[in-house]
Symmetry: C2
Subunit: 500 residues, 2 copies
């Protein structure tokens, strides 16, 4: 086992080095450094791939488990070790399932498609993107065949983001969600909109930065092992639990965007810092899934960061940074940070309409990968669904199906994780409310550590020991359901918008 773990740790070191280079690329790299940086990253990725599929790893693995049957060879393994070799085997099988020339072609086609997407988006001209997307879809279908699946091809892709999740299980969850969510959105749309004109001022970005760091620190993000920088798109990246980086985007005209981005990324970063260090390098030291990761960011951003109790604590602090809002009342502020408004752009969506954006994308991906949709028909499909879900229609494809980067890097199956994050987050929070005495009273005093420590214990420390569907059962005693999320939304927004 020692040998096996050492090989994995070496692979992880390469991955960690590559992560530093990615981080630098998005934060500080001078414009002209990009060309060679891409070559270095491609080389590190090739080396990592070679090691992760190499004979040395296979030999060590085969001392523990039978690669083909999955039967244990070393019967002295404890539960953690069993799960570990099982995951190594699973990851290895996936890596090996794709032929080398397919991987190489995919890598090249991804670069080309991303460039075409950026160009097409800028020119608002879908036809530039069409042939690239067409080939990408064809290759992703091929990839699903290589990877294998039980029922639907899309299952193979979903598994890369939410292990164990299938088209059928997503359909079931989203089905339960959709009815209640669409109803809620309709009711809110009929209600009187909240006046948030006070937010349309200029808010000094240095003060945004300072306030954000204060909140992140209060949340329990360990700044001795983390830092924040600025980038075009906010993200979190962990090199090791002891070195996690977050970024934010600051705009003096968008106070809430910068603030909630810091809270969101801090949620991700607290997860990364809480992963089990002694398992670092092995699959057990990794996050459980994209959806679980997203649950941690959204829980902090929305369930905490958009709660009345949070602002009971934070509004006086914010007023210290911005005398211009010193007259604002808590109740009004609370409503302003919870404005719900149908919008065309996913990343700007509020917590209520956000999941609708995801369902739309899931519907279309499902049709594309499991069915047979002509690429030329996707724009109309997208726009019709926008009309159906939101009652609004994009002016052009750049604010329609070309708004997201995901398809251009082949990330079919990624989107559902975002909505899963909402569902996991609400279900986890429901349990936290039961187990942490006076949780909300603590939040209102800025005492976030009880929640942070509880999440460390219940979610983070398990790493990838459980598949997400098992993890949620271990935490909450029940399988994933849309009910906690919808209960939360309905209760909250009925009050905010005076629905009946």
């Amino acid at each position: 086992m020692k040998q096996l773990k050492n090989i994995l740790l070496d692979i992880k070191k390469l991955e960690s080095a590559a992560s530093v280079l990615h981080w630098d690329q998005e934060t500080y790299m001078p414009e002209g450094g990009g060309e060679f940086r891409a070559e270095v990253l491609a080389y590190l990725s090739l080396m990592e791939h070679q090691m992760a599929t190499g004979q040395k790893l296979k030999d060590e693995l085969s001392l523990q488990i039978n690669y083909n049957s999955g039967d244990l060879v070393n019967i002295t393994l404890n539960d953690e070790e069993k799960r570990m070799v099982e995951l190594i085997r699973k990851d290895l099988k996936k890596r090996i399932a794709l032929p080398d020339d397919f991987v190489e072609e995919m890598s090249k086609h991804t670069s080309a498609t991303q460039q075409a997407w950026a160009k097409a988006r800028k020119a608002k001209d879908f036809s530039i993107y069409t042939p690239f997307l067409e080939k990408m879809i064809k290759m992703k279908k091929q990839e699903a065949e290589y990877l294998g699946y039980k029922e639907k091809p899309y299952d193979a892709l979903l598994d890369g983001f939410e292990p164990g999740m299938t088209t059928a299980s997503v359909e079931k969850l989203f089905g339960g969600l959709k009815k209640r969510l669409v109803k809620l959105v309709k009711e809110i749309n009929k209600a009187k909109q909240i006046d948030d004109s006070i937010l349309q001022q200029s808010f000094d970005t240095d003060e945004q930065w300072k306030f954000g760091i204060k909140i992140a620190t209060a949340m329990g993000l360990d700044m001795k092992h983390a830092r924040q920088d600025v980038s075009t798109h906010p993200f979190t990246i962990g090199f090791h639990p002891e070195d996690v980086r977050i970024t934010t985007r600051l705009n003096d005209k968008m106070l809430l965007s910068g603030l909630f981005s810091t809270i969101h990324e801090s949620g991700h970063a607290i997860y990364e810092q809480g992963l089990p260090k002694k398992q670092f390098g092995t699959p057990l030291g990794e996050a459980a899934s994209f959806g679980i990761h997203e649950s941690q960011s959204r829980l902090w951003e929305n369930l905490i960061g958009r709660s009345r109790e949070f602002w009971e604590y934070a509004l006086p602090i914010l007023k210290g940074h911005y005398p211009q809002i010193k007259e604002v009342k808590l109740e009004d502020w609370y409503r302003m940070v919870n404005v719900v408004k149908p919008s065309l752009i996913r990343v700007e969506a509020d917590e209520v309409t956000y999941s609708l954006h995801i369902m739309l994308r899931f519907d279309i991906e499902n049709m594309i990968i499991n069915g047979d949709v002509k690429v030329d028909d996707i724009p109309a499909l997208w726009n019709d669904k926008m009309e159906e879900y939101f009652g609004i229609r994009p002016k052009d494809d750049s604010e329609g199906l070309m708004q997201d980067v995901h398809w251009s890097f082949g990330g079919f199956g990624y989107f559902p994780s975002y909505a899963m994050g909402n569902l996991y987050g609400a279900q986890i929070m429901e349990q936290a409310e039961k187990e942490i005495p006076e949780l909300w009273k603590k939040v209102s005093k800025g005492e976030f550590l009880p929640l942070k420590n509880w999440l460390n214990e219940k979610v983070h420390k398990h790493g990838r020991f459980y598949d997400p569907e098992d993890l949620i059962k271990v935490i909450s005693g029940a399988p994933l359901s849309p009910d906690p999320f919808m209960n939360y939304l309905e209760k909250k927004y009925t009050k905010i918008y005076n629905l009946k």
Copy 2:
């Protein structure tokens, strides 16, 4: 040749990745990230070493040149290619000369020694450092034996910094330098000191930063392919000619330190940016030597940055940043930035006394490596030489022999490069003055590109095609001599200090 170059390029990619990690470590890494970072860097360095000494490289090399005899196998090679395979062979021989267990022990002992040095320096207690330095010296002598030399063991170490340089040639150069330099310092010491009390104010560091970037840009540092950050000790690091990073240190009480540090590092960075891109990865794409590198930084820092013409251009700009100095006259300012004062600390030394610090270190290293000095005797030796060269004596060893990090990382043979940089720089500049029409008039108008382009052409573009001793002949038509440097100093400081 294509195959051989590809292997070298892959090695370079690993090296470049490691450089990004080093840069991050010195600039942005959170405190707690150091432990794992050290492991990643050690692993990258191991992989690089394995590739750089691996069979694949040897096989490809042996198709071009006979590894043992150095005879060409591929007789169709052009001059550049011949030089390239010669350098690859030389580097490989050096790498292989050191047994793996020696390299590993040295790596461990270096870490331990650096820690002991930092501790001893802080405690001002040389005895903490003694046993580590003792072992380090023993190992460096062993290393010299492994590497081989013709005359003196120290030659083997010198060659790592200044290829072709020997104890004898350094002795000869420094001998010529010493007489004139000591005389000049004595005369300056007797002269009336310049009043630079105006510099003892607080100078806003943001303005220092802005001014520094302006100057670096004017010098021709291509900021699309470079950037500046802040670190404890200023340095330059190139990941590729298209991505070069410099750092500076800013202190509101030390205006000149921040400014000249930016000019110095920009000189290094312009060299890095000017290395031949098409040779990137091969030895021909590298710098000629540490001394030549240092010549570029010092030429810009001192010969340009401390000239009257430079300040004719730059002082009005600086006054724009600092109204508090708007009454200062050019002549007074020029004298203030050229104050000469014997000091204990090398890195704070002016351009006149700097080389004396180096000669002192060379004397001692020479005795240590070529002779047989007891470690316990080094402090007294150091202090006596300080007295001899500067007429001052350190209070304790932290401002004596423990001030520099070099010995603790085994950098015996490094110091002479710094003084070589002064000599090369002055000799190169003498030639530039001959070849660039109205150079100083251009400098006085802030037109630095003629000089920068000339340096690109005469120095940078050659990479490592010439050994430094040949390069200087190609540029100036004469072997390296202390005369241009001393002529420059004597002429300049005779005026500044009204010597006769």
